[in-house]
Amino acid sequence: MNNPFPLSREGLLTAYRRMRTIREFEERLHVEFATGDIAGFVHLYAGEEAAGVGIMMHLEDHDRIASTHRGHGHCIAKGVDVKAMMAEIYGKATGACAGKGGSMHIADLSRGMMGANGILGAGAPLICGAGLAAQKLGHDGVGITFFGDGASNQGTVLESMNLAAIWNLPVIFVVENNGYAESTSVDYAVASDSYVDRAAGFGMPGITVDGTDFFAVYEAAGEVIRRAREGGGPSLLECKMIRFYGHFEGDAQTYRAPGENEANRQHRDCLKIFTGKILEAGVVETGELAVIDSEVADLIEDALEGAKAAPLPSAAELTTDVYVTY
């Protein structure tokens, strides 16, 4: 079968598995959160999978990402262990951060995941450091910082764009523009609504893509990442996307237009769009996707059961990991 896509069949299936894993993970969390078993703040990435996976299909472990409060999808796309993530969200000793971080701080530096971040815009300076380290250590790693339309207004982001530009850092600024900063519309809050314009202000190229189209993201990300790897410096990639859920779990979303969520799920579901394309082209078969769906469902079920059954951190852990030596 002629494969019209820029990924091999295996690549397409991998991308699908990652996106499906994120979707399943988030949909299950949405359900479990409602039961009251999960504490704290949880921000779901469902609906935005094509952006995270489309970008991270190009990355390896020595490439770094700095994530946001909405970080589960980035973690999964970057290869962080799903079971450890789930246990972390349940605050268990077996969690990715031993229960000390929670949903907003999942990290795995061994996979190049520098952390979800509860402070909006804080990842941008950090990723400049990752880019600087790659430059100084002489490897071809790139750094990608994700931020939303909300955090785009943080001074840290703008300062970092300047720094990345003057140092020609291998850094990519990814704006995940889902139209809402919490509940506030991008139309209200962003003076220049085009992020490409902002990039241009720092002398760096920018691209806007439909973030619900995996292939559009994949192709654009491939170019900006290649450019950064080859010493071409930073660029900005704006993914226009939609958030299936509210800002956080428990958000009544009264700021949305009537029917908005339903319309988004019907017409702008990045997973549906992706599977539609690969099935239409005949490169993969429905049955293969169903197998992945079932494996992913089992994985998430295992992760949930494992997380629920896992031990809580011991009291002694309260004051460990705070200094190397004291």
Partner: protein
């Protein structure tokens, strides 16, 4: 006086060619300023109502801020601006839907801010409503480069009937690409690529190009149609098209360097340059691949698909800005007689 429609695409000039070929990005503020200059020209030609496509890309926000500020200051002399009441999807569907609605409202003309891709979408949905292009895209083979104030004046004069339709409006050719009964159009060119992949849509790699079909091609044009301009130029009105059979550089008798996109010179093999007669369907040279319409990959096809490309003449109407302005000059359309006339050489 009929209203004038404006469709301003906020995401033209935002694609991957920013990275691969230093293509420009027209800032949103400047797009809002272009609309304001258009409005100024329209107002000077006595257009009182303008309907605009809503978008969430920032043009509307900037535009309305400025209009409200100027109204407060009492400095604005602009037509009334109304936004269409329609959902915004932030895709090309918005331009198509807006064009349909404006045609239904019987606007006198639609001014389009965008590149070839945006113009294609509007032209395929607006029926016989004349369009006037303002180039704000990456590749701008179809819309001419011109100061938008003048476009506004000309569109106003055409809409009011001060310039007669037979002078103000021109008929244009287009290509109709059909895949298994699904029709798409191209205003300038349709390029057949031997890759069945539609990603970020914009085209910039030339190795896999196999055919080019074009309605016109100017030697100093940009994009795929420049291949026509550089081999056998064709103007916008002659009732024929061009077909060029293509091959990878170095594999054909001659290899041509041409401007694929702003900042990007490609090399491609030319197998033949042929004339397309109107209304005669042509088949692509390859049995599977994709088709880029006016520079954007839109369609894919395989061995089982029925694909044809056909030239249509007199297909849609555009406002001919230079002819409008020449007529206005000849007939003094912009001359306002003073209440106390003064004659040349006579002191007041």
């Amino acid at each position: 006086m009929r209203a004038v429609g404006i469709i301003a695409n906020p995401v033209s000039a935002r694609d991957i060619r920013r990275i691969v070929s230093h293509a420009g990005n027209l800032p949103i503020n400047d797009r809002a300023n272009i609309v304001l200059r258009l409005l100024t020209g329209l107002a000077a030609a006595d257009v009182s109502d303008v309907v605009v496509m809503p978008e969430n890309g920032g043009i509307r926000t900037q535009l309305m801020r400025t209009i409200e500020r100027e109204r407060r200051m009492g400095t604005a002399r602009l037509p009334a601006v109304t936004y269409l009441d329609m959902p915004v999807t932030s895709t090309y569907l918005d331009s198509a839907a807006a064009a349909r609605r404006m045609a239904d409202m019987d606007v006198g003309a639609i001014v389009v801010l965008g590149g070839d891709g945006t113009h294609r979408v509007v032209a395929s949905s607006c029926g016989q409503t004349p369009i006037a292009g303002v180039s704000t895209g990456t590749n701008n083979a179809f819309p001419e480069f011109r100061e938008p104030t003048i476009t506004g004046l000309a569109v106003g004069l055409a809409t009011s009937g001060l310039v007669p339709a037979d002078i103000a409006l021109a008929l244009n050719k287009r290509l109709v690409v059909t895949v298994n009964g699904r029709h798409e159009i191209a205003l300038v060119d349709a390029a057949v690529v031997a890759e069945r992949y539609v990603g970020a849509r914009a085209i910039w790699k030339t190795e896999s190009f196999r055919d080019l079909f074009a309605t016109f091609g100017e030697a100093d044009g940009i994009g795929m149609s420049s291949l026509v301009g550089l081999t056998d130029p064709l103007d916008r009105t002659t009732p024929q098209g061009r077909r060029i059979r293509l091959a990878p550089a170095g594999t054909a008798p001659r290899t041509l360097a041409f401007p694929v996109a702003p900042g990007l010179i490609g090399r491609i093999g030319i197998l033949s340059v042929e004339t397309m007669a109107p209304d005669v369907p042509c088949r692509p040279s390859v049995t599977s691949g994709s088709i880029a319409l006016d520079g954007e990959r839109e369609l894919t096809f395989g061995e089982a698909d029925d694909v044809s490309i056909r030239l249509e003449t007199d297909a849609f109407r555009t406002v001919c800005v230079s002819d409008c302005m020449a007529f206005a000059a000849r007939h003094g359309l912009l001359v306002h007689q003073s209440s106390s006339p003064c004659h040349e050489g006579e002191p007041r």
